[in-house]
């Protein structure tokens, strides 16, 4: 959220200095033996952590929403994101337009996917035990990911150089090596961040009212379908934003999905603010963890945080018993 309030590079740098200063004052730097980078890079890490946290929050929101309203655990959520990533790629390659214009296209496409998946697989067994729906969405995941892999190959892809915002290869966080992005691309990160957050706030406001409507009027099928579409669009939005700042593979959805599951439990099942708080925590662990710990050790830290929450506050940070 901080990133949206920092209008230009100068201010960001100033914030970075303040942050590092606070770090030093606490003696953390010497205690941990860390060598902090220049304030600019630190500020960029910070911005990126907020961005990633927003993405995780968005994905977790879709998961927790669909679970809270429909009692369906959607395993295909990550796969739908991958579809959105490649939709953005295809769209911006074909039209040569900025990928930002591709986002509505991806969201629309995912909406159609959501309806088709719901109609063909979930609606027929909506009254069956929960595992069955889970397994079905798993089947959807496998088919979608294989389809993407067959169509596009499993090599990492990146938005073409024709599209301005990702001219410099920003960050490949999967490999844990964050290259210094130009100020231009970090401005793009900011825009991606603020746009994703605004959209997700808008989306989180909608379903909550319908969710309460459902609890008063009883669950009806059209209502549920509407939520599934919403969920797919949320997933589509998150997926469509991801190509703006990192290269992607068909397998990327799984990684985001598993962390989003962690975010949901971390923040509290069914809690919308919890999804964002949890998302930000995971985002910060991932960005700073991959910068300082090396490899994919940050992922271990994420799971450790998850286990800690299981031990100490199993209902999640912001969740209460429903």
């Amino acid at each position: 959220m901080l990133s949206s309030f920092l209008p230009d590079a100068c201010c960001r740098e100033a914030a970075g200095v303040a942050f590092v200063g606070a770090f030093d004052a606490l003696g953390i730097q010497t205690a941990l033996g860390l060598s902090l980078p220049s304030p600019t890079i630190f500020a960029q890490y910070f911005v990126f952590a907020v961005l990633l946290g927003g993405i995780y929050g968005l994905i977790a929101l879709g998961l927790t929403m669909i679970f809270g309203v429909m009692d369906v655990i959607n395993f295909a959520h990550g796969a739908l994101m991958v579809v959105a990533m490649y939709a953005v790629l295809v769209f911006s390659d074909a039209t040569g337009l900025s990928p930002f214009f591709a986002i509505p296209f991806a969201v629309l496409l995912l909406f159609v996917f959501g309806v088709v998946i719901y109609r063909s697989t979930i609606a027929p067994i909506i009254d069956a035990p929960q595992e069955n729906q889970l397994i079905v969405t798993f089947g959807v995941l496998l088919i979608l990911i294989s389809g993407v892999e067959i169509a596009f190959g499993s090599d990492p892809r990146q938005l073409g150089s024709t599209s301005a915002p990702s001219k410099s290869p920003a960050c490949s966080f999967r490999r844990g090596s964050c290259t210094r992005s130009s100020s231009r691309s970090s401005r793009c990160l900011e825009r991606g961040c603020s746009s994703s957050e605004q959209c997700s706030v808008a989306r989180s406001a909608g379903p909550r009212t319908t969710a309460t409507a459902r609890s008063t009027s009883g669950s009806t099928s059209p209502d549920r379908r509407a939520h599934l579409r919403d969920r797919c669009r949320a997933g589509g939005l998150a997926g469509a934003v991801i190509p703006l700042f990192q290269s992607f593979t068909p397998a990327l959805g799984d990684q985001y999905l598993i962390n989003a599951f962690v975010v949901v439990v971390l923040g509290g099942l069914g809690s919308f603010p919890g999804a964002f708080v949890g998302g930000l925590i995971i985002g910060f662990i991932q960005v700073f963890g991959s910068a300082y710990l090396g490899g994919s050790t940050y992922q271990i830290v994420i799971f450790m945080a998850f286990i800690l929450v299981l031990l100490v506050k199993p209902e999640g940070l912001l969740g209460g018993r429903r």
Binding site: L134, I258, S296
Partner: protein, 360 residues
Amino acid sequence: MSNALSRAVERYGAFRDEWYALPALVAASLILLAAMPFLRQLALFGYAPLGWLSLNMLIITLIWATTAQAWNIMSGYTGQFSFGHAAFFGLGAYATIILTGTFGISPWIGMLLGSVLAGIYGLLIGALTFRYDLEGHYFALAATLAFAELLRYVFTNVPQLGGASGFFRPLAREYADGPGLAAFQFTGDLPYYYLILGFLTVVTVVSLAINRSQLGYYLFAIREREQAAAAIGVPTYRYKLLAVAVSAFFTAWPGAFWAMYFNTIRPTTVFDLLVNIEILLPAIVGGIGTVLGPIVGSFIVIPVSEFVRQSFSVPGLNNAVYGVILIAIVLYSPKGVVSWPSRFVELLRARTDLLDDDAA
């Protein structure tokens, strides 16, 4: 309908209701499996109908049949779905190869230690997830998956545990007199086949014993309605933990076998997300909570997938086949393939009744 058919159906229906039906069917299928290496060479008029089943494919099928059977003890019997059984599988594999390769200890001891380790890890997962009984399925899903993924990242990032490149299987003469049962390594594929069949037999017998015991009734009660089970005095928490521990213990066995059968193990081969699926898929396709289901299911899922993978050079297509089979089974026959004969019998009975009514 012909008289002979209806009589055969009646006889099958009567057999199905006998107490010895299940053990007899299990024994028959295990004997059939023991004869499989010879059956596949059998040629009818110069054409071998099972010739496309290579020994290697049969071994892989039995590995997943064994894991699915072990998974079934926890998830099928108690209804506590686990998406993280790759953790136990991988622990078995890594414990075996590290103890053998680094310390020169017999792989059998490594397998035993790996199984105990997996059982303890299972207890840890169970203790953390069952205690709070929050939103059961979602919680269990996220937690089991997270615990499996945790191990994957630990093994990937700790160089002492092999790192991302994993381990090579040591040569048999480095820690034993040479290939043989004591070394857990053989020169041909056939001994491997009978070894994994032995593992499958042990796990199946355990599963059958649990199915028929007091313990089994407790577990089924937990699956059907946990609160009711607790209300009549079943200590549900303790029995769920027991089921996880037993299941984890036996899941480590095929893991150890995997480590000694293939040349290398890496975090991506034994802890991968897809391993979690390959473990539970045969049980779901064959029939969740049944003793025969995992065996029957594995012989449907794995050969088809391997066949697709080897015949078409399209990477990822075999996963799509998994997906299609999964969706089809859950949508049209959620009780699995093993329920088909019973459904067939009932269908025929209903038709015979209808015909009798018409005649009367």
